[in-house]
């Protein structure tokens, strides 16, 4: 149990997918202008990461390892993630148009989000069992949501800050991201 708690904590903060592993930077910079859209993207990513890492883990352990064709994992994972996102999109459009509208373009964008493929591959590389895999993917995606949300809050405030003209917009966002990454790097030695 203690192992799982420390795994959850390290996935959430210490090994934060955006600020220490630098995966999923594209939505981090692209979809963090408004708190609501950051939240929407975070939710969509949580959903897709948990589903896709479960399916890819099972597929890897029971199909690829049994047939001794582990080298196919990257291409099969990409295939599974892309198809999954497509299905989730069609499904949501029918079941919950409100959520579909809120997620908008982010849902198809997740197909090419490297964080999703990254978590699927990290689960295999770190040799997690099923429970550990679930905990790790849940908390890594919660960490994604957490960082997206604080970054969006900062960026909303930045709109009112007296920033030199040349730094307005993306440049100041990149500087803030660098400062955040430095803060998160300090968590490195905790566990």
């Amino acid at each position: 149990m203690n192992d799982l708690i420390s795994l959850a904590f390290s996935a959430f903060i210490i090994e934060n997918i955006i600020l220490t592993q630098f995966l999923g930077i594209c939505p981090f910079l692209g979809v963090s202008k408004k708190k609501s859209s950051a939240l929407g993207m975070g939710m969509a990513v949580i959903f897709v990461i948990i589903m896709s890492s479960t399916i890819t883990w099972v597929l890897y352990q029971y199909v690829l390892v049994t047939l001794k064709i582990e080298y196919l994992r990257t291409i099969i994972f990409i295939l599974v993630i892309a198809a999954l996102v497509q299905m989730v999109e069609i499904f949501l459009k029918k079941i919950s148009p409100a959520l579909y509208k809120a997620l908008g373009i982010y849902l198809p964008l997740i197909t090419t989000n490297c964080a999703v493929l990254g978590v699927a591959i990290l689960n295999i590389n770190n040799g997690y069992n099923f429970i550990e895999m679930l905990v790790y993917s849940t908390f890594i995606s919660l960490g994604f949501l957490f960082v997206m949300y604080i970054f969006a809050m900062i960026r909303e405030k930045l709109d009112y800050a007296p920033i030199p003209k040349a730094f307005r917009g993306t440049p100041i966002a990149l500087i803030v991201a660098a400062l955040l990454a430095m803060i998160f790097a300090r968590f490195g030695g905790i566990i």
Binding site: G30, L67, A83, M87, I90, K93, G104, Y106
Partner: protein, 96 residues
Amino acid sequence: MNILIPAAVLAGIGFVLGFLIFIVEKYFHVEEDPHLDEVVELLPRYNCGACGFPGCKEMAAALLGKQSKPAQCGPLKKEAAEELQKYLDEYYKSKQ
């Protein structure tokens, strides 16, 4: 001969996923406003988000609902904007 196993697995997974998408699409198909796609065609389709909406489709929906103006789209060229405005004017007229 060994190459056939991975090829078969890959093809099998691809086939299963494709079939699943086909089934999901068949049972969960949603009819959309045909005007929406036509407006999206007139936009640059970069999904850059400069208009403040998440993507071109959301922008198109806002345009049809009169919540936005073509000028809000940054990368839209001048001639394209005029064409879009013409289309929208006709659409608004037909709605009234």
